[in-house]
């Protein structure tokens, strides 16, 4: 059941929360100690999580059988709420493996970035960061729908506080918008969850009297695939829609994106990094894990329309990003564009598209985090995010410029770096998908061109040209912590670009199983 014999996932999940608890005993005024405890916790979590890919079975014994539930690893299961059959059940498979790793990897980097940017109420900031970390990992590892929903909604609370307390001028507006928009987006999912629970219970209870229902993901999946639970077309589509709305808001898919620029612009650097790096991924993950797995037929049905939205998002996000003069807004809209690729890949509904989307989520997490760190570095030095205020920094901060260029190119999808592999795999998937096809790809590729346009605009405005503002002439280059953060981020950026096969290998089995089921459903319907 669990290849390690001890609850590794629980440890990874609760370690940050334990760190937060420990921080409560650190005096509020002792910012330094608070940061160190937080950083230590994050690093420990990451190191612990390294065991996951090390001990992960890329080819589990049970081969991908059509109709079988996803093969989870590092499984833990404890009864939690027996009255509705909800359990505390954790596990990961190829779909969540790298997203968990992304989360734990970004943890220490985020904490490092707070050193220079957060000076107010440092301890509580760290507490919230750690709690958020637990919540996000929880979303990825929860294998019980109720537990998942619990973590899913809970991520809102610390994030709202991070934006609302430590943000800039318009932070209250942004925090409120973030909370209400995403909360409203996911209430229907709660209802869908309940509906699924009851439909399943009634269906099974007809065969096995006394069955009290469950929220177990794998049980839903196996019963759906085995035909013990069948959903009629309308129900399936409604449920699909309710789940999808929640995820689409989070991703965010055009036209549900307008909370994102506000949230990003107002959030402190660390908040933006977490938001872009991990929080948006919850949406993409949810689509793959829940929409595709639970409602394959509805996914087939909705895919073309959703892919249209994704493509619109790609172009629209890029165009709007291009027109921004505020760096953070630019990067924020670039997320809309990049996450459009992810959704496009997901609804290609084939192995290429989905693995590409998964990898692209990791890539986007890395590059966009780095971009936000970059904006943060500038903001801490000059306290403005206006592009026009900068120029010629290549001369003043050469090391910083080099990293920024790397990051921008990674985000623009330069071959040899991570972004390209993801995007290319996604569009291969979309191109080959019988549901989509070359027209989608033609537009999506337009997004690739525009990505270069806005990212190079950003890079040129900041780093090229002459040093026009005297204040810029004396800016210090990266300090040790910043350098560490950027260097750490650069490693996977390059490694994924050159050797993505390693990352694809981890997800292959799970994706293949998922796609096999999608195909079986398509054939059946």
């Amino acid at each position: 059941m669990n290849q390690l014999g001890f609850p590794l996932l629980s440890l990874i999940l609760w370690l940050p929360a334990a760190g937060a608890l420990a921080l409560l005993f650190v005096p509020r005024a002792n910012a330094g100690l608070a940061r160190q405890v937080s950083l230590a916790t994050m690093i420990a979590t990451f190191l612990l999580s390294l065991l996951l890919p090390l001990r992960f079975e890329t080819n589990p014994m049970q081969m991908a059988v059509v109709g079988a539930p996803p093969v989870m690893q590092f499984v833990e299961e404890v009864p939690w709420l027996p009255i509705v059959g909800a359990t505390y059940s954790l596990g990961i498979d190829g779909i969540s493996l790298w997203l968990v790793m992304l989360t734990t990897f970004l943890g220490p980097i985020v904490t490092l970035s707070t050193w220079d940017s957060v000076h107010k109420d440092v301890r509580n900031f760290q507490i919230l960061l750690l709690i958020l970390q637990t919540a996000m990992i929880g979303v990825f590892v929860a294998q019980d729908l109720l537990l998942f929903y619990l973590f899913w909604e809970f991520t809102l609370i610390p994030m709202t506080f991070l934006i609302g307390i430590w943000g800039s001028q318009n932070r209250i507006y942004a925090a409120r918008k973030f909370f209400l928009y995403t909360f409203a987006g996911s209430v229907l999912m709660l209802l869908a969850l309940i509906a699924l629970h009851i439909l399943h219970r009634d269906a099974i209870a007809a065969v096995e009297p006394g069955f009290r229902g469950t929220f177990s993901f794998s049980q839903f999946v196996s019963d759906l695939r085995a035909g013990r639970l069948t959903l009629d077309t309308t129900t399936e589509r409604l449920l699909f829609g309710a789940f999808f709305l929640a995820f689409a808001v989070k991703v965010p898919l055009w036209p549900f994106h307008t909370w994102l620029p506000d949230a990003h612009v107002e959030a402190p650097t660390a908040g933006s990094v977490v938001l872009a790096g991990v929080l948006l991924k919850l949406g993409g993950y949810g689509m793959i894990r829940y929409n595709l797995t639970l409602f394959p037929a509805a996914s087939q049905w909705a895919a073309p329309a959703l892919a249209v939205l994704a493509v619109i998002g790609i172009i629209y996000g890029a165009a709007v990003a291009f027109a921004q003069s505020d760096m953070k807004k630019l990067v924020a809209y670039s997320s809309v564009s990049h996450m459009g690729f992810v959704v496009l890949g997901i609804f290609a509904l084939n192995a290429e598209g989905i693995s590409g989307a998964l990898l692209q989520m990791v890539n986007h997490g890395l590059s966009t985090s780095a971009l936000f760190l970059m904006v943060g570095v500038l903001y801490e030095r000059r306290h403005t995010r206006e592009l026009a205020e900068y120029g010629g920094l290549w001369k003043v901060m050469p090391v910083f410029a080099a990293f920024s260029l790397l990051v921008a190119l990674s985000s623009a999808g330069l071959p040899g770096l991570n972004g390209f592999v993801g995007e290319f795999t996604i569009i291969t998937g979309a191109f080959r998908s019988p549901l989509l096809g070359w027209i989608y790809v033609a537009f999506a590729v337009g997004g690739v061109v525009l990505a270069a346009a806005y990212l190079l605009k950003l890079f040129r405005s900041v780093f090229m040209g002459d040093v026009s503002q005297p204040a810029n002439a004396t800016l210090p280059d990266l300090n040790r912590r910043e350098l560490t953060a950027f260097a750490l981020l650069s490693i996977p950026i390059v490694v994924i670009g050159v050797y993505p096969a390693f990352f694809f290998a981890g997800m292959q089995h799970s994706v293949a199983a998922l796609v096999a089921d999608l195909i079986a459903q398509a054939a059946g319907s």
Binding site: P255, F322, A323, S355, L409, P415, F424, T425, G465
Partner: protein, 642 residues
């Protein structure tokens, strides 16, 4: 052997890493950078020698390092190969590259960021080698975009200048447009062939798509009313990709601006190697192109039109480098046209000779710029032949080679293209190309006259000859420009034979009459150009108009602006996109999309105020509402029970 070919791209890459992470001093940077490229050249020579020792049909070495992408059925290895076509390209890249590296030591001396410069240069060579050595489209694309990146970095090397930054970005983005088509082409190839590999790995694995182009013969896609052949679709997309990288119409606008980079960069990237990437691509995927009659027509015409447009534009430039830039575009047009006519060997031949003499011209121009303290406007030059004798002589050799004067390298290669055009019945193309070759001679005559003859028009500087580290590469290249034609002389046709396993071409007939007419024409127009600008030298004023402007007026201005193509793009595509983006960002997004969201909020706010308004504070109102509720409840329940 496999290890050996990996060494070719890896050596410059090691140089790059050293320059980035280890080296901090200018002198070491230049030496290491040049050293690794020279080493790569030597290794290439060895590899070529070993290749030559194999039977012609087996002259291909493929080596896979690792599985690059493996997801679903989409599998791409990180694999390189070495075959005759790659070999000549690699020789050009490492050979000319080495010379330019050495030259740069002198040219860039004293620049504060020289280490970075050599790092970029080494990275460029690496990427260019990947481009020509890749055994699949995706790795080729890695090199393709990689050289684009280096081009961006090097054009923008003096980023303090506004024009440098703009030109760098422009180059990258215009190239990206072509790259987008390239990506689509790759997808199509993968969809129809199931692989992106050019050739099989030689170990009994899957064979590459170039070896089974016949698979898609007759296959059509597209709507019923206008189906197109798959081969046409794929090759046309590749063509668009090539027009971006090889600066062809309609995407050539980036190359003249790219001259903002250091001159050795122009020589290496924007004359000898990177811009020939498109030609190489077409030669490499020649099987796909020849499968589509339609695309071939487009290729030929695009090449010819580009050659003529750029040729006319080159005539009217004042900037010494912009003349050469447009000339490069024009000569690339020759090569592309050659590809379009099926004369791939001639295209590669011209690519190689052009690589040598255009590098020579650029380096010599760099020497001029260096010796005149960064003067680039030819109106401020004049009479430099005495001050810079070596530069002058090498420049003239380059110019003669470019103009196509017997027996210099350019003559043989250009003649081969023209001869092919006439012998295969491409008469309109031939006429355009012939005309362009005359223009070429004219503007080179004009340039030599303006730069080296007459008197120095701007007395503000003291011209001096460049140091030996710069002139020696010039001399070496000049020798190459003189004797380069030997590799594919009509009687010997070594190159044709060498490339036969890849391009499957037989040597063409040598057309003596054509050669005679072309030479006479070139000599005549070249002399004309020289004559006009030496006799009218007095009329040329700094910042003034060209003497020819008097006779041609607006046409001359049109030529000077390259027929306003760039301005057209600025005013339509660029401005249009910027306005659209601004509209979306300032109006549509906040008021449209977000307005809808906030509208929902306001809607509920309005409802809430309605609820509030009902709460009047009068207890009798409450009782009234209560009573209404009673009537409703009673009514409904009794209505049920009726």
């Amino acid at each position: 052997m496999e290890l050996l070919i990996w060494l070719i791209p890896l050596l410059p890459f090691i140089g790059f890493l050293l320059n980035v992470f280890v080296i901090r001093r200018e002198r070491e940077a230049g030496l290491v950078a040049s050293g690794v490229v020279v080493a790569a050249f030597v290794v290439t020579l060895i590899a070529v020698a070993m290749l030559a020792g194999m039977p012609p049909e087996e002259r291909r070495i493929v080596s896979t390092a690792w599985e690059w992408i493996n997801t679903g059925s989409f599998r791409v290895p990180f694999a390189i190969m070495f075959d005759p076509l790659t070999a000549v390209m690699a020789l050009l890249i490492t050979g000319v590259g080495a010379l330019i590296h050495i030259y740069s030591i002198g040219y860039m001396h004293g620049d504060p960021r020289v280490v970075r410069y050599f790092a970029y240069l080494n990275l460029f060579v690496t990427m260019m080698l990947f481009l020509v050595m890749a055994n699949n489209l995706l790795l080729l694309f890695l090199g393709w975009e990689g050289v684009g990146l280096c081009s961006f970095l090097l054009i923008g090397f003096w980023f303090e200048r506004k024009s440098a930054g703009e030109a760098a970005v422009k180059a990258f983005i215009v190239n990206r447009i072509g790259d987008a088509a390239f990506i689509l082409a790759m997808l199509a190839v993968f969809t129809y062939f199931g692989t992106l590999n050019f050739y099989g790995d030689g170990e009994g694995g899957q064979i590459g798509f170039l070896e089974r182009v016949s698979d898609i013969a007759g296959l059509r896609i597209g709507p019923d009313w206008q189906p197109i052949f798959v081969s046409t679709a794929i090759s046309f997309l590749l063509l668009i990709g090539a027009t971006g990288k090889s600066a062809q119409f309609p995407l050539f606008v980036w190359l003249p601006d790219a001259m903002a980079g250091p001159t050795p960069v122009s020589a290496l990237i924007h004359a000898a190697t990177m811009v020939t990437g498109g030609v190489y691509l077409m030669a490499r995927t020649e099987a796909l192109f020849t499968a589509s009659f339609t695309t071939q027509g487009w290729v030929a015409w695009i090449g010819a039109v580009t050659a003529l447009l750029a040729g006319t534009a080159a005539m009217a430039q004042w900037d010494i480098k912009r003349v050469l830039a447009y000339s490069t575009v024009s000569q690339l047009g020759f090569m592309v046209a050659a590809c379009g006519m099926g004369a791939y060997v001639a295209a590669i031949f011209h690519l190689l000779t052009h690589g040598i003499f255009k590098a020579l011209l650029f380096l010599a121009a760099g020497s001029v710029i260096h010796g005149t303290h960064d003067t680039q406007d030819m109106r401020r030059m004049g009479g430099l032949k005495d001050a810079m004798p070596i530069t002058f002589r090498t420049y003239v050799i380059g110019a003669l080679a470019l103009a196509g004067i017997v027996p210099l390298a350019g003559f043989w290669s250009k003649d081969e293209i023209l001869a092919h055009a006439i012998s295969h019945g491409h008469t309109p193309i031939f006429i355009i190309l012939f005309l362009t070759s005359l223009l070429t001679a004219f503007y080179m005559g004009r340039q030599v006259a303006l730069v080296f003859f007459g008197t120095q028009r701007d007395p503000g500087y003291h011209p001096h000859e460049s140091p030996a580290i710069m002139t020696v590469p010039l001399i070496v290249l000049a020798v190459g420009a003189v004797i380069g034609g030997v590799i594919n002389l009509p009687v010997l046709h070594w190159l044709t034979d060498w490339l036969e396993p890849v391009l499957h071409e037989k040597a063409g007939e040598f057309n003596i009459w054509l050669a005679l007419i072309a030479t006479i024409g070139a000599v005549g127009t070249g002399y004309l150009g020289w004559w006009v600008y030496t006799t009218n030298a007095a009329r040329i004023k700094i910042g003034g108009k060209d003497p020819a402007y008097r006779y041609s007026g607006d046409i001359w201005e049109g030529m000077e602006e390259a027929w306003y193509l760039d301005r057209l793009y600025q005013r339509t595509v660029v401005a249009g996109f910027e306005q659209l983006a601004n509209f979306l960002a300032r109006v549509f997004d906040p008021q449209g999309v977000d307005g809808l969201v906030m509208g929902i909020g306001r809607f509920f706010g309005g409802l809430a105020n309605g609820v509030r308004a009902l709460q009047t504070g009068y207890v009798r109102t409450y009782a009234l509402v209560f009573t209404v509720g009673v009537l409703l409840v009673l009514g409904v329940m009794l209505w049920f029970a009726r």
